[in-house]
Symmetry: C2
Subunit: 400 residues, 2 copies
């Protein structure tokens, strides 16, 4: 079952390296006979997944590259859905003809995650049992559950083995989960600005965001669909998040202590500093496009993420992987600091896995994975190009 | 006018280096004829200040050391108010016989800041004009206003020139304000874990905390006295604050990813990780002892703090100072990072001011100023001892 959201656009001028107009598709995966079994023990009988693809699958079906999105992302990673769009997909600077994920060579796929609010089943979807939105009856999901969904989609698309899975932030967690949960379904993973285990500091920030939502009188135990949603709580959660996406340095460069509307202090509690109005704008605009319950579920999934669970060490845990790794960290990223990625690189090398670790110098903080397209393109183009050109001969190196 | 809050305690065993039982006093400063003129342009006709003193003022009245407290502190810096107290004053590990602020040598003073909620006039105080609590009618105050109040108190205590002003975090901002606003009333300042200018990142965190309070339905425009206060909003604000007081490293050491009550994930939205329950505990217990409106006013005062305002550069700004400086920063403090203190040290040196800059290696993050008593004691004891032993001959060095 697939349902096309959009087509037949008026002509529009595109850059040569744009994928142009794209379509979002929806597919229903799993069913009552073969439900999605979640890590929490619950099952979902029906899962709709929204996805987009760019480029074409080749005859060997070996040029598939799955892009995993971060917390606020969606399936619309590149191109334009309509001529009215004000901006292209969220990773358009990385996906297109001649770009890092070169759509003339690769078949690029991006799907909205399980638990999301952009077309894939999540807490705002209709629960077939009650015919009302799930709300907080939606089961708690994990990064592993998201990846199980993606794997099902890849099957449906007729791809036995992906060339690569790439993603930043929470998308990076998904790439790592692919490497250990489906080691024979992927030739390489490219985790960017991420971690193998969410730190207590990140959990703490996530919990603050959730409490801000819980404390919004409109949240109403998650049962707010069709009513006034908990916009202020969600906006606060997004504000907290945004602080962690920027670096001290980038905030200095972007705003300094500049005032917004006047030259001197107003001695009131308005949004006086530019950094405040920036955050308010980010928070408020986020509430227009995002569901508060999805925010709760996705941050919880991130908090649970810990590849070492059930293993005596990170090294033992990474032994499950059987693909090449390109790890990319950013020097000023304090949400997922480079030292965590370095630790993972060492654990992979210990297991004789072919790993390239790159730390890109950048002042942009965690957000760099969306902004440092030029530097990332050099890495990804070379890595994918080389990978694609060589036969799939397994990924463990001969020597350690 | 002075009013003693407490006295006549039953006997209690104290350590030799404890100041023992102490008393909080209140004094009324300023009046209708000579009101407190605030930076915002408003005036306060009556200001009550709560303070404590430890040790004795010597005959020359030149052994006074003023301690400035941080956001959640109060006048009760050392000793015990009653035999029932569960813990001593907030900087008891630094104040007492033989300690860093040696009460056998120095007369130590600590007062609750203007805008506070621990005895000094603030938004929860009765507005004499309306005979109701000020609430949001309280004027917006600044660090400078707090220091003007402290200076008035020092006058009342008969001290012409303080030996030193010392404080951490927002207390450190006050020490710096003393140095530039009352350069001839202080021989040395000891700013600890602070900055000369609040960064956009700190402003951003403060604004998140304020929004959490504003968004609490019980906040009611600040008019909640005698009713249910906005405890959940204030708790969220405190949670955000606490994250910034710890370091990534100290959180790892303190909590890791340990779960609180069970061995495996519960797949629900309870406080599952120890870091979450720690933050909740910090948030909730804070609401029992702190006023939400004071939180708003004090964070705003910090956001406004910028010693360079009205000056072409930090160097020019620091030219106003005429005292010795001992600057103490902590390596893992990311709220007020060492590089900011280093910058200030350089600006002071440029002006020929006698400055000692120390960066203490510590994993405790910003909280180190409350925890690294031993390392700080070595610095402070030596610095104050030397200062006290030499005559007050001005503080500019002969050579640059």
């Amino acid at each position: 079952m697939s349902d096309q959201k959009q087509s037949n656009n008026p002509p529009k001028q595109f850059d040569d390296d744009s994928v142009g107009f794209v379509e979002s598709r929806r597919v229903q995966l799993f069913n009552r006979e073969e439900p999605l079994e979640l890590e929490c023990g619950a099952t979902l009988n029906e899962v709709t997944v929204e996805y987009e693809t760019y480029g074409a699958l080749n005859q060997n079906r070996d040029n598939g590259v799955l892009v995993c999105h971060a917390l606020s992302g969606d399936a619309h990673a590149a191109g334009w859905l309509s001529a009215e769009d004000k901006k292209p997909g969220w990773w358009d600077n990385m996906i297109g003809p001649g770009k890092a994920l070169d759509t003339e060579k690769y078949f690029v796929i991006c799907s909205n995650i399980l638990g999301g609010c952009k077309g894939t089943t999540g807490p705002s979807s209709i629960n077939p049992e009650t015919e009302k939105p799930y709300g907080m009856d939606f089961p708690v999901i994990t990064i592993h559950d998201m990846v199980v969904c993606q794997e099902k989609l890849i099957q449906q698309l007729g791809i036995e083995k992906l060339l690569a899975v790439v993603g930043g932030s929470m998308g990076g967690m998904q790439t790592l989960e692919w490497a250990v949960s489906f080691p024979h379904r992927v030739r390489a993973v490219i985790p960017v600005a991420t971690t193998y285990r969410t730190s207590p500091q990140s959990i703490a920030f996530d919990e603050v965001g959730r409490q801000a939502i819980f404390n919004d009188p409109n949240w109403n135990g998650g049962d707010y669909y069709g009513q006034q949603p908990p916009e202020r709580g969600l906006a606060i959660a997004r504000m907290v998040g945004h602080i962690t996406y920027l670096s001290d340095q980038s905030m200095h460069e972007k705003f300094g202590r500049n005032l917004r509307l006047r030259e001197e202090y107003g001695y009131d509690f308005g949004q006086e500093f530019q950094v405040e109005s920036y955050l308010h704008h980010q928070g408020t605009s986020f509430t227009k496009r995002f569901d508060a319950n999805t925010y709760l579920y996705i941050t919880k999934a991130m908090d649970y993420f810990d590849l070492t669970i059930g293993f005596p060490s990170l090294k033992e845990s990474m032994r499950r992987a059987d693909c090449k790794f390109l790890l990319i960290a950013f020097s000023s990223d304090w949400l997922f600091p480079p030292y965590q990625m370095k630790k993972m690189a060492n654990a992979l090398r210990y297991n004789g896995i072919d790993v390239t670790y790159v730390e890109i110098e950048s002042d942009y903080g965690h957000d760099a994975f969306l902004l440092e397209a030029e530097k990332m393109t050099r890495m990804l183009s070379a890595f994918l190009g080389y990978l694609y050109s060589e036969p799939d001969g397994g990924n463990h190196q001969a020597t350690i």
